[in-house]
Symmetry: C2
Subunit: 249 residues, 2 copies
C-alpha cells in the first residue's frame, strides 16, 4: 500500500516519524511549506514535493481543520482512500470522489518533544468495514489503542479532552498567577501536580478527590474566597467547588 502524507505541521511530522519507526513506508510528504517539508524529508528520508502529488492508495491529510476541505480537493484520483486526522471535523468534509475516512490520533503534539507513539490512541472512521480494517491495521502498527469512532463519538472525545487537558492547563495557568503573586516558585507545585495525574492511573478520579470542597470544609472555602481578588478566579473557584459538592452529595 502506497501512503502519502499531506501537511508539514506537528501531526504530519509525528505521524511520518511513527510510521518510519514501525517500518511502514511513506512514499511522499506533500505540502506548501518547502522549508518544513525539506526538514522532515531529511530527517526521515522520505521524498517531498510542494507541486506534484504522488500516486497513492492512501492519502493522510494532516492540516488545520479549516484547510481540510480545500486541501482534500487537490486529490483528483478516485480509486483511493483519503483520511484526515482531525477530531472535530466530520468525515464528509473531505471534498472528492474517493473513499473518505478519519485517522485521528488523540495527543497534543509539539515538534520538539519526543513521544511514546505506542501509547497514543487512534480513532478510526470509514465508509465501510474494509476501509476501517485497512486503517485499524495501519494504526495498530503504531499504537496498542485503536478504536472505531464515528463523527458523533469523536465530538465527545474532543469534549472530554477539553475538560481533561485544555481546562486542566488553564487551571495550571491560573494557579501560577496565585503563586506568582506571593513569590512562591510554581516549580514547587510540580511534584504535587505530577502525583495528582499519576494517581488516576491507579484510582478512578471520582475516588481520588481531595480538598476542602469534598470534605465540606466551609471555613477554608470562605477563607479562600476572601484571598481571591479577581473576578475570573473567583468564578472558577465557586463553580468548581459547587460542582464538587454536587458530585458527592
Amino acid at each position: 500500500m502506497q501512503i502519502v502524507i499531506i501537511g508539514s505541521g506537528n501531526v504530519a511530522y509525528h505521524l511520518a516519524k511513527a510510521f518510519k519507526k514501525s517500518g511502514v513506508e511513506v512514499s511522499q510528504i506533500f505540502g506548501r511549506n518547502a522549508t518544513e517539508l525539506s526538514k522532515i524529508s531529511e530527517e526521515l528520508h522520505i521524498p517531498f514535493s510542494t507541486e506534484t502529488l504522488a500516486e497513492a492508495d492512501l492519502y493522510i491529510i494532516s492540516v488545520s481543520d479549516s484547510s481540510i476541505a480545500e486541501v482534500s480537493a487537490l486529490i483528483k484520483k478516485e480509486n483511493c482512500l483519503v483520511a484526515h486526522t482531525s477530531g472535530s471535523v466530520s468525515r464528509e468534509a473531505l471534498a472528492g470522489n474517493y473513499r473518505k475516512s478519519v485517522f485521528y490520533p488523540l495527543q497534543t503534539f509539539s515538534k520538539s518533544k519526543k513521544l511514546d507513539y505506542h501509547k497514543i490512541p487512534f480513532f478510526i472512521d470509514a465508509e465501510n468495514e474494509e476501509d476501517a480494517e485497512i486503517l485499524k491495521n495501519l494504526a495498530s502498527k503504531i499504537s496498542k489503542n485503536v478504536m472505531l469512532a464515528d463523527n458523533k463519538k469523536r465530538k465527545y472525545i474532543h469534549l472530554t479532552a477539553v475538560f481533561a487537558c485544555n481546562f486542566v492547563n488553564h487551571l495550571f495557568a491560573r494557579a501560577k498567577e496565585i503563586s506568582d503573586s506571593q513569590n512562591i516558585p510554581f516549580e514547587y507545585f510540580l511534584p504535587l501536580i505530577d502525583e495528582t495525574t499519576q494517581k488516576i492511573h491507579e484510582l478512578e478520579p471520582k475516588l481520588a478527590q481531595t480538598g476542602p470542597a469534598v470534605r465540606g470544609d466551609n471555613r477554608i472555602l470562605e477563607l479562600h474566597e476572601q484571598l481571591i481578588t479577581d473576578e475570573e478566579k473567583l468564578k472558577i473557584y465557586k463553580t468548581l467547588n459547587e460542582s464538587i459538592k454536587k458530585m458527592y452529595s
Copy 2:
C-alpha cells in the same frame, strides 16, 4: 535532637519513613490508633506508644486540622519545639507553652503509594530564626525544596494547590463522565493527560494553552455546549472558556 512524631495517618507515616531513609532518628511515634501505630513501628523499627509521650526536643504533630489544638495540648513540656504539618492551620493554633512552628510538606499522601521524598517541598514557619533554622536543616535532609512560609503565605500555597490539584482532579472526574456516557475508555485519555502535565515542566502553562477557546473557535464552543446535557458541566464549560478568553484577550 530527639524527635517524636504524633499521629498515625498518611502524613505521619510518610514523614517517619522519609526520616528513616535520610538517617534521621525518630525516637517514638505516638497516637491513639494502636493498630496503625504498630504497623508503622514494625515496618520502620520505631517504638510507638498510645499512652506515654516520650521526652523530645521536637514534636511533629501530623493529625487532622480539627484535632491539632486538642492533640497539641497533650504536650506539657515547655522547653521544646512543636510543629504541626498542616497548610491551612496557623502556627498559633498549637495549644501549649512550648515554641510553636509549622513543618508543612506539600504533597498528596496515600499510604500505599511510594513517593520521591526529595521532590516534596517543605514550608517552614517558626517563632524565631533559630527554630526556623532547626526545621530547615531537618527538612533539607529529606528534600531539596525547603522554603519559609508564614501563615499568610501558606494560605496562598494551599489555594494554589486547590486550583492545580483538587480542581484538576475534579475535571478528570467530570471528563470521565463524558467519556463513560459514550463508552469510550477513560484510559485512552491518560497519555494526553500525562503529556499535558509533562509539558508544564518545560513550558509556562500560559504559553502551553491549546484548545478551542484560546483559538477563538466559536464553532466548536457552540457545538460542545449543545453536546453537554447537565447543568454542572455546562457551568464549568462556560466559566473556564470565558476565563481562557479573558487571559488571552
